[in-house]
């Protein structure tokens, strides 16, 4: 698996001085500074000097960067001005690779489809899943070696979220690794280690559609079940959906629940290691775990941005945005905005108003899986604290080559048991 080399590209900002470079040249979209973990000062400069910032030239064309919490909230809660169509990614999609799903729809179609899918991850259903999730967590943790270096991303973060997805979809457990592959393929930059081309990505999507069509056919004539496929097959608004739309919603739910949770699992371990006094707080009082989970999700911000497209000319932060302009809400920046979040640059597991972060977004598109994500992380940390005095990071993490997926490809750790 090769990492795409960010600093070879003419668009990369790796090595630029965030405070002295010409501000109009700042381009947050290029993955280089994200993989190199150098993105924070660029975002900080924009928040301070140009919070609604126009980047005229980039590998993805011209776009606006919105970096302050309040402005992001404004955009996120104004779907009649800032549309989620045709895509919420920064790369403009081409028809043959476009997968329709409700994340990239506006009302009324968005609402119809979300209402159908939402029950699968509503707390009433999560309650039923909790014991199964805990079982899976315990099985994984109990297999891990003590005092031996291993990759937390591979053995825990990926494995646990994959098992969770298989459960939600009632997907054949022994083939669950395909869910991870399809999810990674859906969002990967070609050449960054998952797929080498858009054609390869499309082949993966076709395979995914084939397999899920098989599951649909099985379940449509059976009694309605609690899994997502069954819900889509039986729901009035979704039972006649075209194959591409079905695939799009499946991919949405796999992706939504995959690398986000994965990277929060890894990110929490890293954050606690980087701020040892917080790890001490956790050891002293496990009841802080639910609050800590929210803080981990803020700190990691597993999806760094969401993109919108202006439907009309509009003003924001004193700037004139034109109809058709690409507008990028940098959640990763808003989550560090000290104007709204107290001591935003500190990882504090007992902070007040811990849920008031942007990682799940706000408004109509607010992450549907947010309570599921929180539950997985809560159960994981409850069980970790029963078994290990420390999950110690023993080497440099490797980060994903992406300005969208903010996470880790490797995190070397050693486990130390309780005394």
């Amino acid at each position: 698996m090769t990492d795409a080399s960010g600093d070879q590209s003419k668009w990369s900002m790796v090595g630029q001085d965030p405070w002295t470079m010409p501000i109009d040249k700042i381009d947050l979209s290029h993955p280089g500074i994200w993989q190199a973990n150098e993105f924070l000062p660029f975002m900080e400069r924009l928040r301070l000097e140009d919070p609604v910032h126009y980047c005229a030239e980039s590998a993805v064309g011209p776009y606006w960067s919105i970096t302050k919490y309040k402005d992001i909230m404004q955009v996120d809660t104004s779907p009649e001005i800032f549309s989620s169509e045709p895509t919420i990614g920064i790369v403009d999609t081409y028809d043959e690779y476009t997968l329709p799903s409700f994340i990239s729809m506006d009302p009324p179609k968005h609402d119809e489809q979300r209402r159908i899918a939402q029950p699968v991850v509503a707390p009433a259903n999560l309650k039923r899943l909790e014991h199964l999730i805990r079982q899976r967590v315990c099985n994984i943790l109990d297999e891990l070696p003590l005092e031996t270096e291993f990759d937390w991303v591979k053995e825990v973060s990926i494995e646990l979220t994959t098992q969770m997805l298989a459960t939600l979809f009632d997907f054949p457990f022994e083939s669950r690794h395909k869910l991870t592959f399809w999810s990674d393929a859906a969002t990967a930059i070609p050449g960054a280690g998952v797929v080498s081309s858009n054609e390869e990505r499309w082949a993966a999507m076709e395979e995914c559609l084939q397999v899920f069509t098989g599951l649909w056919n099985e379940r449509v004539n059976a009694e309605p079940g609690n899994d997502l496929v069954s819900m889509l097959a039986h729901g009035k608004a979704t039972q006649n959906m075209p194959p591409l739309e079905y695939l799009g919603n499946i991919i949405l739910l796999i992706v939504g629940g995959n690398d986000t949770t994965r990277n929060s699992i890894s990110g929490g371990v890293l954050a606690l290691n980087e701020t040892p006094r917080e790890y001490d707080k956790l050891r002293a009082d496990h009841s802080i775990i639910p609050n800590m989970v929210s803080e981990i999700i803020r700190w990691q911000t597993p999806l760094a941005y969401m993109r919108r497209t202006a439907l009309v000319d509009t003003k924001l932060g004193g700037k004139q945005i034109k109809a058709g302009d690409k507008v990028v809400m940098w959640y990763a920046s808003g989550n560090r905005d000290s104007e709204v979040i107290d001591r935003a640059d500190e990882f504090l597991i007992d902070r007040d108003k811990a849920r008031q972060h942007l990682s799940f977004g706000f408004g109509l598109h607010r992450c549907m899986g947010n309570r599921l994500a929180e539950m997985q992380l809560r159960i994981l940390w409850e069980e970790i604290m029963q078994r290990f005095d420390s999950v110690e990071v023993v080497g440099q993490p490797k980060r994903v080559y992406s300005s969208f997926v903010k996470g880790y490809t490797h995190l070397p750790v050693k486990l130390h048991g309780l005394n």
Partner: protein, 106 residues
Amino acid sequence: MVKIKFIEHSGQEHDVETNPGASVMIAAVSNGLPGIDADCGGACSCATCHVYVDQEWLEKTGEINPTEEAMLSLSTDRKDNSRLSCQIQLTEDLDGLVVTMPEFQF
């Protein structure tokens, strides 16, 4: 002062006295009551301050605004007497208000 009775899903009651002007959500959260999450802090953008208003009080709480309606319409537990408590401003008229919290905020 305005009195509000918050009833948890379990039936547990909490009586709160607060100044008019704040929202019902703020009254709950600032008194540390369980059952209202208010993730977005009152911006009508998360639907986790959901309450069921007692029928006799429903009309007095006023009209549901379009943003609130958009959020409520996506809620899995919406009923006829659902409101987002961050959108109910407390006035003397609402002295004695009774609301029930749903089992889950989502």
